[in-house]
Amino acid sequence: MNNPAPQNPSRRAFIRNSALLGGGLVLGVYVTQTDTFKHWIAKPDEAADSVEFKPNAFIRIAPDGTVTLISKQPEIGQGIKTSLPMVIAEELEVDWRDVVIVQGDLDPVYGSQSAGGSRSTPTNYEEFHRLGATARNLLIQAAAQIWQVPADNLQARDSAVHDPASGRKLSFGELTTTAAGLPLPPPGEVKLKDPKDFKLLGTRIGGVDNPAIVTGKPLFGIDVQLPGLRYATYVKSPAFGGKVVSANLDEIKALPGIVDAFSIDGTENLKGLLPGVAIVADSSWAAFRARQQLRIVWDEGKVAEQSWADFSRQAQALSKQVGAEVLRKDGDTDAALKTAAKAVEAAYQYPFISHASIEPQNATVWFKDGGVEIWAPTQNPEAGQKIVTETLGIPKEKITLHITRSGGGFGRRLIPDYLIEAVAIAQRIDAPVKLTWTREDDLQHDQYRAGGFHFLRGGLNEQGKLIAWHNHFITFSHPVFKDGKNSLELGSGANLSGDEFPGRWVENCLLEQTPLACGIPMGPWRAPRSNVLAWVFHSFIDELAHAGGRDPLEFRMEILGDQGFLPGSGEQGIPYDVNRMKHVLQHVAEKAEWGKKTYPRGQGQGIAFHFSHRGYIAQVAEVTVSPDGKLKVDRVVVSTDIGAQIVNLSGAENQVQGSVIDGLGALMFQELDIDKGRIVQSNFGDYPMIRIADAPTRIDVHFLKTDFPVTGLGEPALPPLAPAVCNAIYAATGIRVRQLPLSRTDLSWS
């Protein structure tokens, strides 16, 4: 986080010197500010500075030359706080070292502020170019006015406007007063830079908060400090949907450091304010310690009868029946499978998993002056504000929401359950209150990636070509009462599109879906659906390739075929550019020397691709499996086509490498069991996450520059990893992984 207050010249000198002395690979914005949250408590009086240039809500240029850019989207580790301001800075022609970036509060002036679906870059990219270019245009006009020369003769670069004819220049800081008095140019007059002239975009720029991160400055929601702050913990029913019957509140209130304890009735909304007991104390530890003495009698309700073992039995039984819904029916799959030269049948399954973002959910709330002020690590501030209004009737205009940095998101913080809990608790306390979930709360009250079961059949003709594909997907849903009747609503991220590859590519294709009813909360987990569908489909495609004695790459190229661009089927369909996928697939094969190397037993390569979030990604994994079944991923090669421009090369590479490691962690370890309507696992001891020794030795990342629109990279590089690794395991050992996580499959060979 950077200091939002006007900077003095000595600080600017410090910034330049520090950056130069670093001698490093990336530029960094150095921060001297120690109290990150100060400006949220007492905002500087902006009106007092009459010569500041503010061409729009995102750009402020101070007379000392400091350029303050607003980051509107929440920073959750995806790097948006660095990358989107880079787009403005590129067009503005400001020296990056003069830039200070401030996280914007929730404010309609910024437009949508949700960070999800890898959408922040594609939805803002062009607009941010225009914002920067408009400001540049005005600064040039200001200089033209001062010098009385045509604006066309002038150039902006390195935080100044230059007159090449005379060699004179005026810094942006010197131009603010004049620029502030100019009318905005008509949009048609604002010229964007030619991408070939980009100086900042596509280079490696360090995260703007790195200096604060490596020195432990307050940044995250959990770091918020306020005068007189109280600390809360909130205990919900271990079985989902349970209600509080009674609790030993009087005993709790008598414990040391306890400010108050009370139960909250809550609502039935699994993504909202669930019933529970709040303990408010004078420190986090006093609250957590008192919680150990808390005795709650729960009415656990019907969900307490649910278990994974039972879901699994139901799925096996349902697989023998016709699916509840047909998502795609092309040709006659049954007939084709009967006459196929080769037919293969397999069942794949995966468990519920948690987001496990490393910063537990938390929010700080202060009711004062007739309104409510909220500080939250959220991916979706609009949803946070909305649920406060809906649940507690607090009007929108009375809610101030400060977006803090988030210690990981992965989709978890799109859901504002923790935020509304903090507000409901603080409403009863005459002081600011910070609610901090324990890791156990976080793991046992997540909005989970749904488990699922796929029953697959595939058929090949005499030439080994894929001619038939049947998938019966048994998935999870919530019972809902809607429009006067009971129905099942598929869990978030638990649905399959009839367009998902290889639907549309196989002449005889039957995709069926049957929902199981459950009471377990489900939510978007990084690359929803895709994060497991790619594993299922590319594993089974691999099975078919091997069954037909075909090379897995060549088999896939044949399936993709020569169809060029495929429109989506209906409104929810997925448009697909076959050529872009073939391009990355061919590229990754070349870079990984696919088929050119011979491996001893226990080593091998696997390949997979996936299209999601507007990104075309192919991966090759190279693995070693020891005879006793220990997996080591030696190298992953990733080829991506995410359009015409990489914004921040360092951040983009970090996202891809992180996606590979995240995908590998989910593949190797992550699994939740459900019993008696609750999550069995409780913390990282029984819910292991990937650690450094299991990270691949090498991850090679290739960005293919194409003519397509720029898109985001938080998600699309994750899905192909699991099938690439599992296909490599098969190549190395002959063992096919059909269940996640990997720890369920014995990989030993001899």
Partner: protein, 158 residues
């Protein structure tokens, strides 16, 4: 409640607090040093790592009554102005994604570099095994430690 006198980042801090309070919450709630992070509360994720007399220690499971005379160093006290070789390397290589675990990673790595100034990948993996990075920055963490070792070596010879 009991009175404890702690040495934190070279300063003496007195605090009246229950003896079972984990050092992490003393730092975060009472001393306003929030660089050490809460991740799991059971010593499994390493986000709370601090040094006690130079030894990397999980502050979330260390009761304040166990500290005694040992000197506490947190990320805020690792260097005077953010110029520890690891801090420089982390910025240079742009290691963080969300950044939440990185203070713990750096504190563990700092102790490793003290006993092994040019560690191998295997040593790094063994020593950093207790520090989770949920974003998966492990490759840059390895590279960052190697880079910090270079920076430290260059300082030695300078």
């Amino acid at each position: 409640m009991s009175q404890f006198t702690l040495s934190v980042n070279g300063e003496t801090r007195s605090i009246d607090i229950a003896g079972d309070t984990p050092l992490l919450w003393v730092l975060r709630d009472h001393l306003q040093l929030v660089g050490s992070k809460f991740g799991c509360g059971i010593g499994q994720c390493g986000a709370c790592t601090v040094h006690l007399d130079g030894e990397p220690t999980r502050a979330c499971i260390t009761p304040v009554s166990d500290i005694g005379q040992r000197k506490i160093t947190t990320i805020e006290g690792l260097s005077a102005n953010g110029e520890h070789p690891l801090q420089i390397a982390w910025r240079e290589l742009d290691v963080p994604q969300c950044g939440y675990c990185q203070a713990g990673q750096i504190m563990t790595a700092a102790a490793l570099l003290k006993k092994s100034p040019r560690p191998s990948d295997q040593e790094i993996d063994a020593e950093l095994e207790g520090n989770l990075c949920r974003c998966g920055t492990y490759l840059r963490i390895r590279a960052g430690i190697h880079r910090a070792a270079e920076i430290a070596a260059a300082r030695e010879t300078a």
